[in-house]
Amino acid sequence: MATLAAFFTVFTHPELFALVALGTFAGVYVGAIPGLSVTMAVSILISFTFSWDVMPAIALMIGIYMGGVYGGSRTAILLNIPGAPAAIATAIDGYPMAKRGQAGEAIGITTTMSFFGGFVGIIVLAVAAPFVSNFALTFQPRDYMLLAVLGLLLVGSLAGESLVKGIFCGALGLMLGTVGMDPLTFTQRFTFDLPLLQSGISFIAVMIGLFGVSEALSQLHHIDKTPVRQAISRIVPSFATIRKHLPLSLQTSALGVLIGALPGTGGDIAALMAYDHAKRVTRNPERAFGDGAIEGLVAPETANNAAVGGAFIPMMTLGIPGDAVTAIMIGALFIHGLNPGPMLMVEKPDMFWFIVGGLVLANFCMLLFGLTGIKLFVKIVEMPRAVLVPLIMLLSIVGAYAVNNSITDVYWMLGFGVFGYFLKLYGYPLGPIILGVILSRLLDDNWRRAIISERGSLPDFFLGLVSSPLSLTLFLAVLFIFFSQTPPWKRWRGRREALRAKADPARPAAATGSEGGR
């Protein structure tokens, strides 16, 4: 009974209700504007809400978090600039849809699916928190390393026209992530004795440069053409559309919760993995992936919002952050005298159920704000390019500056903007660079921890790998995905499909073409 009362706290207290709603609304816009990150907003909020009670403070942050994860998709669809890393995969199919005049449909399906994914995440958080945390507790550095490798293999899915170029960009991203002082040994890496490189290159500066400025520069090619009018068709998706994608959304939601629950991996990686999953399981998409496939929106959007619930699992049960935002929220709980970890669940179960309730409300608010107010939002996109392009550039510069109040970040951002422009021009995919930067720390730290725990012996490392069921499963998954992306395997599959098509003419052989050819 006390559980139920705690769960309904946000619904019965008008001021908490209003704070969650306000937070979600602000979160949608914070998430949508490139350069403004949810992480940044939540960290600023900590200083604002320092003197508040714990419940209103947490209520506001929950709203911002939920809305922010979703909000990134809007700019991804309308401008092809992911407002947040979690929306990188959404841009791949969302933008082509908007270019065809289906922006409304894309936003509608994105909102509904985010809502759906968010709910799956919350349900799993509420029901299975202890089980999932027990599972994550057994993870060794080796397993985290394998997880990072698994994430990296998505390069194959993001690579576009050339796998080799994709691998180059992924490796470049990994290298960029290692720039600066090594946190384990304080060795300088790629700093070239320059003080400004010691703290590394700001990931947000790289992201804004690659996705903001390089896009703005590319748009200068088409400045004379009439601007694409992003017509907003119907926004609320039909029930048939939702039902059609229900199986996929359930799968990707589950994937999202799992990835979100793993410490260090959040909605961004969940979205990319879900996109990859959708590409594998969708046999005959109405449109090819990358060309505006609805499945390409359903998968990442369910997964990144499901990851929110997932991220709270290790945070509430173990005190380990699931991603950057939950790391800051752990800090907020500490400030308010709470001790996140296994004991919190025992001593203050009310807090847990209050957060679950807050997440449910935030999810509903997100659905409401997501399906309304788009006309206003679209006005930004319908601006003439002559105004829009300079504004994107201006926002990129302000965004890059705002992260650390440092002009150095602005130079990095511009540098990557120009570099990204040329990369795009010559057919190099930009997604893998970001993927590499995100996964760099996870891979580097855990590879070294794993090797050190085996006293530097590679044979022992492999022995440990095959003797632990969990590591072995992850390792086999890595091998499988790796080989399924290599050309010989694709040729073999193509041949097999062709043979099968000959034996059974009713079955089209097109499936592999759309999947492997891109």
């Binding site: 914070v30 403004l36 907003a41 600023i44 026209e161 050339s162 080799v164 170029k165 691998i167 180059f168 490796a171 470049l172 990994l174 290298m175 290692t178 090594d182 384990l184 040994t185 060795t187 300088q188 890496r189 790629f190 520069l217 200068l220 090619h221 400045i223 003439p384 390019r385 002559a386 105004v387 392009v389 300079p390 504004l391 550039m393 201006l394 926002l395 510069i397 302000v398 500056y401 705002a402 109040n405 002009i407 602005v410 511009l414 903007g417 120009v418 422009y421 040329f422 021009l425 010559y426 590499g436 760099s440 891979l443 590879w447 070294r448 090797i451 530097g456 590679l458 050819g517 891109r518």
Partner: protein, 170 residues
């Protein structure tokens, strides 16, 4: 999509630059800890830069084999004057941002950029620039309280004064 597209102007040079930079980075990664141990801080950098060198070399090999695109020119399709001008404008903006401050620099940048792109009168461009700048300023500086370089306009003091005025009346 599987069909090879033709080589674009400047593509070979770009790939060569990528390969050279990768080689330099590989050499730099080797300098971190050499082949000391598998768990050294240089292990992952060495592996990633090696991967960059190998893939850049492969791309170069492929690029050299593909026929050049005869229809495209460097000046028209790769680096049109407008893009070079904008790259220059951006660098100018970044250079002036701290000494001159956010408001004047942004106003100048937006006016020049909109004038160049829209080919309308300078007054027209300045008005649109002013209007967009007010929107951006209200949203970022006041709503999100993002810090911007103040420069020559004491906007921080003005804001504080206005806030004081509002709170004084309330």
């Amino acid at each position: 999509m599987t069909g090879r597209r033709a080589r674009r102007p400047g593509e070979t040079v770009f790939t060569v630059v990528l390969l050279l930079v990768s080689l330099y980075l590989l050499w730099s990664a080797y300098g971190i800890a050499g082949f000391e141990s598998l768990s050294s801080p240089g292990a992952i950098p060495l592996a990633t830069t090696a991967a960059m060198v190998v893939t850049a070399a492969l791309v170069l090999l492929k690029t050299a084999q593909t026929p050049a695109n005869r229809e495209e020119t460097l000046k028209h399709d790769i680096l049109p004057p407008m893009i070079a001008i904008f790259a220059g404008l951006l660098i100018g903006y970044a250079l002036l941002l701290e000494p001159l401050g956010f408001l004047p620099t942004s106003f100048l940048f937006l006016t020049v950029a909109i004038r160049l792109l829209s080919k309308r009168s300078i007054i027209h461009a300045a008005l649109i620039a002013l209007f967009s700048l007010i929107l951006v300023y209200v949203l970022f500086r006041i709503v999100f309280t993002v810090l911007v370089p103040p420069g020559i306009v004491p906007e921080g003091e003005i804001l504080a004064w206005i806030r004081h005025l509002v709170s004084g009346k309330a």
